[in-house]
Symmetry: C2
Subunit: 254 residues, 2 copies
């Protein structure tokens, strides 16, 4: 496929590399900042551009890998295309792309991408949505050489999947950070908890997670809960969080 | 070392197996339920007992691996010993063991133990506390052939470490379970999120976790936050949790 990539951030970089490595022609990389476009384009034998007027008209696929706010804006700035136009956002409905093409879709991967870190793309889940069956087939054929983890997810499901990803990733990291604060304040090496964090993640693939819940909340160990609340008495946010999650666990595991 | 194990649950089973495999003599396994004692004792060439009157008097180490409530009770039921007496609890101070021996200590590992699952003990962190330097040396010598991850952690630190472990493990699992609920309610395979859960855990060893925080909260992406809250409007607990963690992230990452 002849592909034009709009964006030069973390998602644009990894998607472009993955599709280039699997044999596609990355014709152009667009960024508002031409230097950013050049950095990515040079890795992919592509042309760097910083004006939508220079977008090729004959690409098979236009991949808009840009932040949500920018996406809504860019849709009003690009002229309609014959090729397929897709975005990569978890939260934005596919239909915002309608002004750009009759053939639209979404290629969303719920993962954290960091430009500077290499990734094993074969482990990446790809959530696809398409305006029709033919577009869906073309997107599947694009993704399959990269990863076999392909899911058909519509716009409504995708925003809920994105919400769930915020719980496990953003909120999960925040919980780990709070635990790190607790250990550091008490001269305890945080690395002591690395193994239990790894096991907690492994457990996530073992079925109904409420059935695997352990700890004072699910045991109804009120003495430990009360002692933990005393330890958090000086931090009203953490105390409130402890009480709230404990109460949710107790309701869910009743 | 000649060791007597009091308890036959998850921690007792794994600690006894680990110390047996590293060449110690497990002389006895005590449980209130003689069948439970026998199941474990039979794996360790040990004697199963169900009465404290039958406890050997000449063991080098008495390992009390029982729930916190039981621990406070058992301390009043066992006669004083010449050997070292240790418990394995995260929350109970070492000094509750004082009535039992002049040589006391704690061997605590912040990990989830399941009897039926084999474990790689060399990855286990062991947090040690001892009444004096000689006891500490003996406990280090006991643990070192099992794992080199040995930490000296006093009773006050240990209860805070236990609290931190509740955040990463019990609360971490609960967050994953909530995400699982969100996916299941929307016919989304939860396995799509397994890779990002794994990456979230890997990130925990990469330094200051607040600096690695990603997502709408730290980006100040109020549009996405507002959309997520709308999606949670029917679940007041999850809505409250979303708002609270978002607010904590924003304060911490300011």
């Amino acid at each position: 496929m002849k592909i034009v990539v709009v964006g030069s951030g973390n998602v644009a970089t990894h998607f472009a590399r993955a599709f280039y490595a699997s044999g596609n022609d990355i014709a152009q990389v667009y960024s508002r900042n031409i230097t950013h476009a050049q950095v990515l384009a040079s890795q992919l034998d592509a042309q760097a551009i910083d004006s939508f007027a220079d977008l090729a008209d004959d690409a098979h696929l236009y991949l808009l890998a840009i932040p949500d706010d920018a996406l809504y804006e860019v849709v009003t700035q690009i002229s309609p295309k014959q090729g397929i136009v897709v975005h990569t956002s978890g939260s934005v409905p596919m239909d915002v792309l309608k002004p750009l093409s009759a053939k639209i879709g979404v290629v969303y991967s719920p993962q954290t991408f960091v430009k500077s870190l290499e990734m094993n793309y074969s482990e990446l889940p790809f959530c696809l949505e398409a305006s029709d069956g033919e577009v869906l087939e073309r997107l599947k054929n694009l993704v399959l050489p990269v990863s076999e983890k392909i899911y058909e997810i519509n716009s409504d499901q995708r925003r809920k999947l994105h919400l769930a990803a915020v719980f496990v990733n953003n909120f999960g990291n925040a919980l780990n950070a709070m635990a790190q604060d607790i250990t550091m304040l008490n001269d305890i090496p945080f690395e002591i908890l690395h193994p239990i964090i790894a096991v907690t993640a492994e457990k996530a693939s073992h079925g109904d997670l409420w059935l695997l819940q352990t700890g004072p909340a699910v045991r109804g160990d009120e003495k430990t809960i009360s002692n933990h609340k005393k330890l958090l008495a000086n931090d009203s946010d953490l105390l409130e969080l402890y009480s709230l999650i404990t109460s949710i666990i107790q309701k869910k595991c009743q």
